[in-house]
């Protein structure tokens, strides 16, 4: 079975692997979070080893893992599984590239995680601010693991984004116009464009940092170059990244809220426009992370205004979700509960976002626990709740089983309560003057009880995940298969078997309106189908993507320890593999034959 997955190009299998590793890293990063909270539980604490160096390592790992190796793969996994099924594509446009994208993510994440086992964990924060991340202040190979881990996995993310764009542009079912696409597919499309720009900028930032660290250039040094330049590049990536995490979740929630309100989404065109607008504005706000670096009054004001502006399309979406429920019949299934938990939580994160955009007030908020509270509110409420909602929702399509509803609700409530209990007090500790990334505080700071509450909340979140694990175990043990359409869904994925078969959409449905499957069900008819469709993407089973990614891993290991012989060996391996690939192309056996339709 492992051998099969190593060689697969199928979008559902690749999606499963993304989700599997996303969850594994979620547990590791979650454990890191518990260490952080344990250390901060009481003033002047001496919990285990988490003072100074180890604490710095743990928050660096927590942030980097959660953003790059938890949120990203979980979302990419869901996109991989659900988007083709939703739009009537029989796979992603480039299955080989899809496999390669996953294995690159895997190689990057493996590389980053190895650092822990050889005691070289990076300790520069997930933002890797220069000049702290330059070799003179963080000697040793730790930061290289950050640089190359992100570089490799970022490359994979770019490939997958490109792949999703082409899939959505070219592989929709007949009649599935852009104006009839489910909102998750729309969100995926816009997100993919954001990824292409944002991750490319990050790639160059890391490329320059690599030169700074390994070859002695001075791009980000204080004397010669400009440390702020790193911050600009990082946040030109980093802020769109927030929307890369949030927009797909918005899409998931849109589909789920419509499904379980038994009503179509309210104001579909405005929803699409606002996704696009958020994506666009997302690139114009990056300097609000840098209000305190002295960019001057003009820049501070400009970025304050653009940041406020982004609240408008976000607000539109919230009201449209609310009015989708109005007049519907709301079924409180587990996915819907996560969606309902999302709305108020996200709005709380959103309004603190507007407060943070007030640049002069941000001089107080900046880099305190208030900011920590804010971004956990938005990211957990959107991405994490969204991923949970999506996993419960699409679990039948992924595995053929439906997760237990009762345990799912336990998971939801403990998680939600734990989440608010953890992060709500941080608003206040932040205003009390507690900076982020500190491992201790004193009794005199007067923030003991609030921190203790946060710690309790964090452990509650940890416990809630045990319900999820137990749920998966129980569900698979019971092994009750479900039919095509367990949720009474609206979109095309529910016309297919659960789990989604190897060869989907044979015959291909014809779509003549939004939520076509739902309206067909209401009118007691089945969707019209056709056999005359474009060719599906070509696939074969091959181990090459795995080895290509591993070759990159070898190159980066060589660079990290400056074993240049290893780098050269890796490069030789990489290029040989690329050449082998070009001669074993899955199209070789397909091209040059007669066209069956001509």
């Amino acid at each position: 079975m492992i051998w099969k997955y190593l060689r697969t190009m199928n979008h559902r299998r690749i999606g499963i692997m993304y989700i599997l590793f996303g969850i594994i890293y979620f547990f590791r990063a979650g454990l890191d979070a518990l260490f952080i909270r344990a250390q901060l539980a009481i003033p002047n604490n001496d919990f285990w080893v988490f003072q100074g160096e180890k604490y710095n390592e743990v928050f660096t790992t927590h942030g980097t893992l959660m953003i790059f190796f938890v949120a990203m793969p979980l979302l990419l996994g869901l996109m991989n599984i659900a988007v083709p099924l939703q739009i009537g594509a029989r796979d992603l446009a480039f299955p080989f590239l899809n496999a390669l994208g996953f294995w690159l993510f895997f190689a990057g994440s493996l590389f980053f995680n190895i650092a822990f086992f050889i005691n070289m964990t990076p300790e520069v924060g997930w933002t890797g601010y220069t000049p702290l991340s330059r070799a003179e202040y963080t000697p040793g190979a730790g930061t290289e693991f950050y640089v190359f881990g992100l570089q490799i996995s970022g490359l994979g993310t770019i490939f997958t984004a490109l792949n999703l764009i082409v899939t959505i542009m070219r592989h929709r079912a007949p009649g599935m116009k852009y104006t009839r696409m489910p909102l998750f597919a729309w969100a995926t499309l816009i997100t993919s464009f954001l990824i292409l720009i944002a991750f490319t900028v990050l790639a160059i930032a890391l490329y320059l940092l690599m030169f700074d660290r390994l070859f002695g250039t001075g791009f980000f040094s204080g004397e010669e170059g400009d440390p702020i330049f790193w911050q600009h590049l990082f946040w030109i990536f980093g802020h769109p990244e927030v929307y890369i995490l949030a927009l797909p979740a918005f899409g998931i929630f849109s589909d789920i809220i419509a499904t379980f309100s038994r009503k179509r989404i309210f104001g579909y065109p405005v929803m699409v426009v606002s996704i696009t607008l958020i994506g666009f504005l997302g690139f114009m706000v990056w300097s609000h992370h840098m209000f305190t670096v002295g960019l001057g009054p003009m820049a501070n004001t400009f970025f304050a205004i653009t940041t406020m502006a982004i609240a408008v399309p976000t607000g539109i979406k919230v009201f449209n979700w609310l009015f989708t429920m109005r007049g519907g019949v709301i079924h409180f299934t587990t996915p819907m509960l996560f969606a309902l938990g999302f709305i108020p939580s996200f709005v709380m994160g959103g309004v603190t976002g507007v407060m943070l955009s007030v640049s002069a007030a941000d001089f107080q908020f900046h880099d305190t626990h208030f900011v920590v509270a804010h971004f956990h509110y938005v990211i957990i409420a959107s991405t994490i709740l969204g991923v949970f909602a999506g996993l419960y929702y699409w679990y039948p399509k992924i595995t053929g089983y439906i997760l237990d509803e009762k345990l799912g609700k336990w998971h939801f409530w403990t998680f939600l309560i734990g989440f608010h209990l953890t992060f709500f007090p941080m608003h206040i500790t932040g205003l009390e003057g507690m900076p982020r990334r500190v491992y201790t505080y004193t009794q005199a700071d007067g923030i003991f009880l609030l921190n203790a509450a946060s710690t309790v909340g964090a452990f509650l979140m940890g416990i809630s995940m045990l319900f999820a694990v137990w749920n998966v175990y129980i569900t698979h043990k019971k092994g009750e298969k479900v039919g095509n359409d367990p949720w009474n869904g609206r979109t095309l994925e529910w016309t297919e078997a659960s789990p989604a078969p190897e060869h989907t959409f044979e015959p291909m449905p014809i779509v003549d309106e939004i939520d076509a499957f739902w309206f067909a069900k209401i009118e007691n008819r089945s969707l019209a189908t056709t056999l005359a469709v474009r060719i599906k993407p070509l696939e074969q089973e091959t181990i090459q993507p795995f080895f290509i990614a591993m070759a990159l891993l070898v190159i980066c290991t060589g660079l990290t320890f400056t074993w240049y012989w290893l780098t050269i060996a890796g490069a030789v391996l990489l290029f040989s593999l690329l050449i082998v690939r070009s001669f074993t192309d899955e199209r070789e056996s397909f091209y040059g034959k007669e066209d069956p339709y001509e």
Binding site: P227, G294, F323, V358, H366, H420, G433
Partner: protein, 230 residues
């Protein structure tokens, strides 16, 4: 839901003595005003959304009676949608006006004339301590003494990585950059002793990079300047 209401109660109760909402200088007062102002403005949004949310979720919940109801097929509502496009914009304009005014005045700037009226102090950050240098050349580590009621102009530089200079009761933070001087002004500090800290992660002992600030009467300040540093 109850829990959230309870938590909001907590913020109001705690709000009475939260550090940055008890400002001890004109600069910090303006910032506290903005925090309060934006908070209450945003409460309008929160209350609106929460009210609608609770109402809709309760009213349109699934019940046995509504088992076979098929909701009416609503595509949208132009008027409503325009309402929640326009109202937030108005709300944000109200917020933007004081934001711009205060940001314009308070933002940290490129190096300024050292002859500008006020007390000029050089702040030098390095891993992991603060050095304060006064106009007569006196230097002291991790202890800042300033006169009350005067504009205090800090000239900040770092010797190594980026730090951030922050005394929460006296004003917001400003980053301390290597290779580039930034100036930041705190207006009319009030007498008292305050905590100061580094707010930008700067390495191993970042959490311990603190300093004490003492705001004293003008005469005491003059006296302090001529004392030997401790």
């Amino acid at each position: 839901m109850k829990k959230i209401v309870w938590l909001f109660m907590l913020i109001f109760l705690a709000g009475c003595n939260i550090t940055v909402l008890q400002p001890k200088s004109e600069t910090a007062s303006e910032q506290a005003f903005l925090i309060n102002f934006s908070f209450w403005l945003m409460m309008i949004v929160v209350v609106t959304v929460f009210t609608l949310f609770i109402r809709f979720v309760y009213k349109y919940r699934f019940t046995e009676k509504r088992k076979d109801d098929l909701p009416e097929d609503v595509k949208g509502n132009r008027k409503l949608e325009i309402t929640w496009i326009v109202l937030p914009i108005l709300l944000l304009i109200v917020l933007a006006v004081p934001t711009i005014a205060i940001t314009y005045e308070q933002s940290a700037k490129a190096p300024q004339d050292r002859k500008k009226n006020g007390v000029h102090i050089d702040v030098i950050g390095k891993q992991f301590s603060w050095t304060f240098q006064y106009e007569n050349g006196k230097k002291e580590m991790n202890r800042l003494v300033i006169p009350e009621g005067e504009p205090i102009i800090f000239h900040l530089t770092s010797e190594d990585v980026i730090h951030s200079f922050w005394a929460p009761k006296l004003g917001g933070k400003v980053d301390v950059m290597p290779g580039k001087e930034i100036t930041y002004e705190i207006k009319k500090p009030e007498k008292g002793s305050y905590q100061g800290k580094c707010a930008e992660y700067c390495g191993l002992a970042h959490a311990n990079m603190t300093f004490k600030t003492k705001v004293v009467a003008k005469e005491d300040y003059q006296e302090y300047l001529i004392q030997e540093s401790q």
